[in-house]
């Protein structure tokens, strides 16, 4: 197994781990962190698969995508954290209420 492929597998693993955490945890900060772990997993897949094997230099396009993706992730995280503080101020808990009453 080549090293880039191993990294890509780790990326997929992070994605799944983040997904699991997003579902099982109640606290919003944990959910936001879980989303970020998932994002890092996707970025790792992009970076790892840019390596085309052998002596050829890596493909720059996925790297450019990762840069853009990080910008998006930072803005999304900022919005999520701001919203979490508002939710905490409004409901007293940094968690989503149970929806089963609907």
């Amino acid at each position: 197994m080549s090293v880039p492929f191993l990294y890509a597998l780790v990326g997929i693993g992070l994605f799944c781990l983040g997904f699991y955490a997003l579902i099982v945890h109640n606290h919003l900060l944990r959910k936001i962190l879980a989303i970020n772990v998932m994002g890092s997993g996707v970025f790792l897949v992009l970076v790892a698969l840019a390596r085309r094997g052998g002596e050829t230099p890596p493909d720059p396009v996925p790297h450019a995508m990762v840069i853009t993706g990080i910008v998006v992730a930072v803005s999304a995280t900022a919005l999520a954290l701001g919203l979490m503080l508002k939710v905490k101020a409004a409901t007293g808990r940094a968690a989503l209420p149970d929806q089963s009453r609907d």
Binding site: F15, F19, L22, L28, K31, I35, M38, G39, G41, V42, V45, L46, L49, D59, V61, P62, M65, T68, G69, V72, S75, A76, L79, A80, L83, M84, K86, V87, A90, T91, L96, P97, Q99, D102
Partner: protein, 486 residues
């Protein structure tokens, strides 16, 4: 004159104009309403310009910065893009007219920049020709939509927005992982190039699963609709209208494009699955709508049901592509108009009585006739009664199902129609009567009533324009069926 008009890059105007307007609104908070309304009324002109350009010169392609695919970003517009852009421009204008009356100064200064940025992001999304640009614009749409949902604060709106944000981020990440795998497999993210290169393989199967799951979550197709009703029902009225009419269509559009360009040749079974989920959405969403006791929640669940109809076109398209996709185009367009009108009317009802409990609606028809009329006309299109855009769409869909002997889908459509009659009349019948607890009416500005009426009337009128409508949508043959026809 004609040469000057055809020299203007209308597609770029469609993206840059709302962006510039949004930034201007952010800076010049004193004139925010008029700046916003001016921008929103120029956007339909630009969309018209693009349509005129397309009808003269055929499919539009623009290599941003002169780079070109596969390295650069390409903008691309055909009949399907034009359909979505025209829908956005028109609904956007109606909602903007409404919002000038709805928001008081403190909220207006926050609403307009965000709304114009959302408008710009939607236009950019519908003009994107490559998967990664679609991801970026999808995130722009999602983030501005979440911020708009949380605009007025309050417990329900904030938790609804938070749930919406988590769902939308999860959906985008699944989509992005799909993009990464596709790029690895085929060395490009350009849709046109991918459609030539993609062949069935395990990687493509994984990509199809990831992207479909992510986009279905963002489109709120049954059973992944859990985030939609709280977000759409607790947002301010103009925002609810935009979310239901336009934002869910953005991810639906991406899924449709992917399907048409890449996946339709690879799997027919998945179309069957989409149809099954669509049927589930029609029945479950309509039943839930019927159970609601508040106007806005009822309208939000109706969106869940109407999204289902869009997915019924997938299994029917394999045998009768032209009819099924014509139906889908009609349903997308008329649902946007009718649902925006319904949410705006619901906003009027709420302002008028300071509540939106269906049972306590008090003599609305006598005292707010325009709003009640708008709700009824929009209801006609949602129920699929003739003459309306909704009727044309559902009629075509029914034709495709009958011709292929899909009696199960025919049954779903009939039941869905009956349930829709039930939930629309649940509201309408209460507008005629006097409530047990009467209240003094709170005045609703005339332009808020006329904006709802304008959109509802358009949903009816579009039903009369079948052949020019389908000719416009079919430009550049986005559905690979030759000509669309009724």
């Amino acid at each position: 004159m004609q040469t000057v008009l055809s020299e203007i890059p209308w597609a770029l105007v469609l993206i840059l104009l709302p962006l510039a307007g949004g930034i201007a609104c952010f800076v010049l908070t004193a004139a925010v309403r008029w700046l916003g309304l001016l921008t929103a009324s120029l956007v339909p002109i630009a969309a018209g310009g693009l349509g005129w350009q397309l009808s003269r010169e055929g499919v539009y392609r623009h290599a941003v910065g002169g780079w070109g695919a596969p390295l650069g970003i390409d903008l691309h517009a055909d009949g399907l893009s034009l359909l979505m852009l025209a829908m956005t421009a028109f609904v956007g204008f109606g909602v903007s007219l409404y919002a000038t009356g709805y928001f008081k100064s403190a909220h207006a200064a926050r609403f307009w920049p965000l709304w114009l940025l959302l408008l710009g992001a939607l236009n950019a999304l519908f003009l994107s020709g490559d998967l990664f640009n679609l991801y970026v614009t999808l995130e722009l749409v999602g983030l501005s939509a979440v911020a708009l949902t949380a605009l007025q604060g309050g417990r329900d709106a904030l938790t609804g927005a938070m749930r919406y944000l988590l769902a939308t981020l999860l959906g985008s990440l699944a989509y992005l992982l799909g993009v990464a795998l596709l790029y690895h497999g085929y060395g490009t993210v350009d849709l046109a190039l991918l459609s030539e290169r993609v062949a069935p393989s395990p990687v493509v199967w994984a990509v199809l699963g990831l992207m479909s799951a992510g986009l279905i979550l963002k489109t709120a197709l049954f059973p992944l609709y859990f985030w939609l009703p709280p977000a759409h029902a607790s947002a301010p009225a103009p925002v609810s209208a935009v979310l239901s009419a336009l934002v869910v269509k953005a991810s639906f559009y991406i899924l449709l494009r992917l399907w048409l360009e890449i996946f339709s040749d690879i799997s027919v079974d998945v179309a069957g699955l989409f149809g099954l989920l669509g049927a589930g959405a029609v029945l479950w969403g309509s039943l839930q709508a019927l159970r609601q006791t508040r106007v806005k929640l009822l309208v939000a669940y109706s969106t869940v049901a109407q999204i289902g109809y869009l997915f019924l076109a997938y299994p029917l398209a394999s045998g009768m592509g032209a009819t099924a996709w014509s139906a889908m185009a009609y349903l997308v367009f008329s649902h946007a108009l009718a649902k925006a009108a319904m949410f705006l009317a619901a906003g009027n009802l709420r302002q008028f009585g300071d509540h939106d409990r269906i049972a306590d609606l008090d003599r609305v028809v006598q005292r707010l006739p325009l709003t009640a009329g708008a709700f009824a006309l929009a209801g006609v299109s949602i129920m699929g009664l003739p003459p309306s855009g909704g009727f044309n769409g559902k009629w075509l869909l029914l034709q495709a199902a009958l011709a292929q002997g899909r009696w199960d889908l025919v049954g779903v459509m009939f039941l869905g129609g009956l349930l829709a009659v039930g939930y629309v009349f649940k509201v309408l019948s209460n507008t005629f009567t006097q409530a047990p607890v009467t209240h003094e009416p709170i005045s609703v500005p005339a332009r808020m009533q006329w904006a709802a009426m304008l959109l509802a009337t358009s949903a009816i009128l579009v039903g009369f324009l079948a052949s020019p409508f389908l000719a416009l949508v079919g430009m550049g043959d986005p559905f690979n069926v030759g000509e669309l026809w009724p």
